[in-house]
Every structure is written in structure tokens, then in C-alpha cells.
Symmetry: none
Subunit: 204 residues, 4 copies
Amino acid sequence: MDSESREYPGGKKRIIIEAAAKVFSKKGFHKAKIEEIAKEAGIGKGTIYEYFTSKEELFKEMLSSISREYIRVLDFSSHPSAVEQIKEILKQHFNFMGMNKDLARLIIANQNALNGEIRQWFLEQTLEKIYVIEGVLEKGRAAGEFKEDLNVYIAARIIFGSVMALSGAIVHENLSYEGEALVQDLMDLLLNGFNKNNGSVQCG
Amino acid sequence: MDSESREYPGGKKRIIIEAAAKVFSKKGFHKAKIEEIAKEAGIGKGTIYEYFTSKEELFKEMLSSISREYIRVLDFSSHPSAVEQIKEILKQHFNFMGMNKDLARLIIANQNALNGEIRQWFLEQTLEKIYVIEGVLEKGRAAGEFKEDLNVYIAARIIFGSVMALSGAIVHENLSYEGEALVQDLMDLLLNGFNKNNGSVQCG
Amino acid sequence: MDSESREYPGGKKRIIIEAAAKVFSKKGFHKAKIEEIAKEAGIGKGTIYEYFTSKEELFKEMLSSISREYIRVLDFSSHPSAVEQIKEILKQHFNFMGMNKDLARLIIANQNALNGEIRQWFLEQTLEKIYVIEGVLEKGRAAGEFKEDLNVYIAARIIFGSVMALSGAIVHENLSYEGEALVQDLMDLLLNGFNKNNGSVQCG
Amino acid sequence: MDSESREYPGGKKRIIIEAAAKVFSKKGFHKAKIEEIAKEAGIGKGTIYEYFTSKEELFKEMLSSISREYIRVLDFSSHPSAVEQIKEILKQHFNFMGMNKDLARLIIANQNALNGEIRQWFLEQTLEKIYVIEGVLEKGRAAGEFKEDLNVYIAARIIFGSVMALSGAIVHENLSYEGEALVQDLMDLLLNGFNKNNGSVQCG
DNA sequence: CATGAATGAGCGTTCATTCAT
DNA sequence: CATGAATGAACGCTCATTCAT
């Protein structure tokens, strides 16, 4: 409860993670130097090793932290229907991506990059997010919002993949994500498909 | 006309690229060592530099080579409708991914990874593939196969993203891709959406 | 104030430069290995790069350091006449060369060797020394010590060249430089020339 | 006596040496590549090793060859007096240096550079030239052209050093060497010294 | 706890030399 | 003799990690 921790809730660890996020985002995992992170954090190089055992661990903890924050932001439970929840997820996601392009790049870039242990770990993070979507879809299906025979496994991956590809467009091609147009269009395509005579067109 | 050249059409360069594909797939760009690639190719380290000016160039040439092979496989032009063409793309894609899991991992893994120049280059490769899909969609839309107001930009990215996410499932979660079930389900969802009353359910 | 800093004023940098001087002298620029310099200095290879950005920089800084020391030794301004000043320069120079044969070898050896940037730099170092001599000669000429029409440009290069050639004799042929005999003889030849009837022989 | 050897007296070896001279002059010993020399000579890399056992040997043979040519050029024996002979040596030397700046640079640059065995060898080449000068001086002294007590050892090195320093000025500072002015001035200073009242001023 | 000087394993790249053809 | 594809020893430099203070 000293003044330090009041200034920086979470203490040095928080400071380091924020500096790491900034540097890793800008440089990527391999080109980011521990020294630069330390400088960005305004501390000594050795201090980082008081809180993290290695560069990899720092990277992973930073991503966990971001994910946690990201998930925390993804507060969708208050919405009544699965469709609305998914809409909310997409909306929040694109907003997050658009407002944190560097972090977004980092998340997209490391979708499956990196080696060995860390790759596995990352995969699990990704799956976790997919499972959330699967959960929402399953509930929606059970509630009769979707086809009875909806393959939630595939559907969840369609959503996740679409979101990632469009996020890539946002950060790499500067696709505008503002307003709800993007989400609206995406949702319409996901719900009603590419075919004519679907969606708004109802049978007499 | 010696047995060597018969065994390895394309000569040493081909051997090196194949060894590089194997090692890069297993280790990723940064952890892959030139020496290991050389050993894998059964040649001396220096020989690689007779054919490629740098590790980066080797990496890029290898990916180009794979892409070329991959695109070559993607022969879909003979199919009549856009829907059939896309189905064919997906089918061939998943087959390719399932049969070349290491290469698949490499393509997925490097979707957006890597830094600077090489990342830019990779991005362009990816966009190229998306543009192919966009082209097919546009033609299909013009031919009246899809909604008149289909946003091909978003639709292409939905397809690309879905494909990548499901490819990830194939290589990382061992999702079975055999038969046409996966493609059928995916296509159904893409064309008709998640909603009930779409697709197979026809208006009286 | 620990014993370390007392032992090595100037710190690690000084230690490294001294080790570098030793190794570069013995092996020359290209055959000298950074690792050997580090070992000679009793430190780790990486430490050198904490103080110098590259092998070239280390080489140049070492030569600068030697030159500085050498120039510092060349304190001749207190002598009244140009002739005395030049005598003093020569005396000090030969003493320095004789007492630091390794360094001498290095200075002579690299008179014009090395490529590109570093050669240019070395050239400038050499010219600087020649300009000092030119300056002394010009003052002496103005003061009436020499021929009125003395070509100081050529004269300075005669002195510099003679000194280098004789320094080479000292380090390579073990020419004795002790006492003032060498300087005396050299000065006599420079001032009075090879001809008979010059110098001590005065006209009735 | 085949057409080859008629075209190139001395055969391939001569061609290689000439190519080596060109490349070594331009790049220096270390930056010169055997491959480039081979290309310059219009032959295969391996062929060089049919005539020379190593890069070092090629370098030494090339220098020997140049020196031989250079000495051959230095035909001064027909001149009557030692002074005239030395004048002739200087004249020819500066002409040679001025007309072959690249080779000149090479000769000057490698005065004492290079390591170990090759350095020793180079030293001997240099001494050989100095001994020629010493010989001329000694004869001149005996013939009464110079001071009776002329220290030919030092005098020879003064000449050699002066010549090298001025050659450096020619190739590095673009000092003009044309006409006989430079030789004239140099000789005057060497023979009569820097002092006033020497040389042209004759006793009544 | 905090620091940053010191470390050295590790790797991409070069190029003189060899040798099968 | 001639070749040039193949080689691998060698080295400069980086940077994550350690540890004495």
C-alpha cells in the first residue's frame, strides 16, 4: 500500500507488462529486446527477471493479461438472445481491434506463430475463445434461434475465422470498422448466407 | 540424364526447398537453422548459399514454391457455377491441408507473423488468394447465384477466415476432413446461414 | 575507489584498448580475432561490444589512443628554433618507436593498408602528423633558419618518409636508435644534404 | 608455341597474374576474391589452383612479377654519375607511380602490411630496393660525388622514405609528378639540405 | 528488491580450397 | 589441363540471462 502501488495498481509487474505489450506489439516477439522493454518501463534490465523467469514467460503473461482484459471487455451476458450476444461480441471485438491496432496486429500475427510450448499455449488461448462462441451458439440452437441441426463446431470456427480475417483487414488494409455497418453486414451473411431468397425475404 | 537429375527434377534447388519446407514447418522461421536444413538436404551448409542469397530468401522462395504448387492444385475453372467453384476450392484446400499438415501448419502459422519486409510480402500472398475468391464471388453474384447486394469483400474474407480456422482445426485438433462432409456443411452454412427456415427449407 | 579502478585508470575500456594494441600489433587487423583480444584482456567476448560497436571501431579507437599518447609525448614547443624542434620530434619519435616496437610495427604497417573508410581515416591521421611538421618548417623558414625558397611541402614529406623508413629499420632490422647519433646524422643530412662542401665546411 | 602462348607469352600464368594485379590493386589483398580474379582472367576458378597453390602465393608471385617489371624499368646504369643515376631512379619511379596509381597504391599500401610469412617476404623486397640505392650511393661516395663520410645506410633510407611519402602524395593527394620539377626539387633538397647558404650559393 | 555490467552460447554468412567430371 | 559445384572452417556480432553490489 505504499505510494508506488497506489500509483501503479499491480505494482512493477503491471508496469512491465504494459511496457512489454507496447514493445512486443511494435516489434514482434523476436525483434523485441528485453532491454528496450526495461527502458520503456523505466526500470533496470535485471528487474524484469525479478518478476518473470524468461522472455517467453513475459510474453505469455502479457498475452494472458491482454486476453483477460479483452475477455473482460467482452461482456455480452446481459444480452437476451444468442444472435444479440454474438453481435455484441463482434461489435466489441472490432472496436477493440480498431482502437488497439498494435495489439490487434500482435494477436493476429501470433495466431499460430511461435514455436513449441508457446505455440501450444497460444493455441489453447485461441480455443478458449472459440469455446465461448461455441457455448453461445449451442445455447442459441437449443433456444431455437438457429437451425436445429446447426453444427456449432463449424459455425463457431466460421465466426472466429471471419472475425480474424476482417480484423486483419482492419489493421492491414485499414478497413473502417466504425458504426455497426460491418457487424451488421457480417451478421446478415452469417445468419442468412450468401444465397438469394434467404434472410429478409420471408415466405409468403 | 543421370539418376540424380531423374530423382530430383529441378536439381539441388528443389532438394533444398523441400528440406527447408520440412525444417521451417517443424521449427518455424526463427528457430530453423540453416545448418539443419543443409543436413536435412544431405548437403553442405555453404551449398545453400550457392542457390539462395540468405535465409530470408530461402524462406520466401520456399513459400512461393509451395503457393505455386498449392495454386496449381486449385484447379477449379472447369466447374460451371461459382458455388461449385468455391466448393471445389474448399475441397481441394482441405485435402491439401490434411495431406500436408506440416506445410499447412507453416502457412497458417505465418499468416501474419514475421517482421518487416517479409511480413509485407506474406500479406501480399494472402491478399492474392483472397482476391481469387473475391473474383469467383463477383462472377457468381453477377450471374445471379447470390444475393444481388452481396458484399463480396466481406464474403471473401468470411470464406478465407473460415477456411483458415477450419484448417487450423484439421492440423491442430485433428479434425477429420475426409469425404465431403466438412465442405458440405461449411458450404451449407455459408450459403444459407445459421438461421432456421433458410436453405433446404423451401417455400411451399 | 576499489583496487580495480586504481589498477586500471580509464577502466575496462583502457584494458581492452591495451589488449587490442597487443593483439593487433602481433597479428594485424584481419588476422586478429575479437575473441583473442577478449582473452588477452581477461574478459568475455561480449564485453568488448559494450564499449566498442565493432572491430573496426575498436581498431580506430586504439590507434587514436596511441596517436594521442604519441602526440602527447611529442612535446617540442619549448625548443627555441625550428631545427631544435625538429630534432626533438625526431628524437622523441625514435625513442617511442624503439621502446614500443610492437606499436611501431603497427603504425608503420598500417601506414596505408586497410580498405575503404578505415584507410581514409588512417590517411587523415598521417596527414595530420605531416601538417605538424609542415608548420614547424614554415615557421623556421619565415624565421630565416632555412632557405628562403624552401618547399615545405616536399621537405615535410622528406622528413616524414625518412623517419618512417628509419623506424622500419629500427623495428625490422634492429637498427640502434639510442643516443643521439641517429638523429644527429639524419639532421645533418637533411639540413646540409649529401653533397660535399655543405654544412660544417664554411666558406673562408 | 601454340597460338595461346603466342597470344599470351608466359601463357595462362601471365594472364592470371595480370588479372590478379588488377583486382588486388583495386580491392586490396583481403577483399579481393579468387573468383573475381578468375572472372577477370576469363578462366575458371579452379584453374588458378593449377598454377598457384594458394591466394597468398598468387599475391606474392604477382608482386614479384611487378617488382621485376618495375626494376626492369629502372634502367639507370647508363647514366654516368651517381647523382644522375639517382635522379633517373626518382624520375622513373614517380613516372611509374603516376602512371600506375592502382599498382602504386598496392605497393605503398603493402609496404609493411600483411602478416607473418608474407610480411617478411615483403620486407625483403623492400630491402632489396633499398640496397640498390645504397649501392649507387656508395659508388658515388667513393667517386667523390658526396661527402666522404656520407652515411649511406641512412641516406638510402632517406631517399627511399622520401620517395614513398611523395608517392603517397601522388596517389592519395593527387600531387602532380609530371615534368622534372618534383625530382629537381627533391634532389636539390637531398643534395644541399634545407639550410641556407648551401647548394647554389657557391663560395666566391 | 534493484541494478546494469558482464557474459558466452549461438548463428548467419563468406570464401579459399578441393575434386569429380 | 580445365572446370565450377560443393564444401565447412572460421568469425563477427547479438542478446537473453546472471549475479555482485
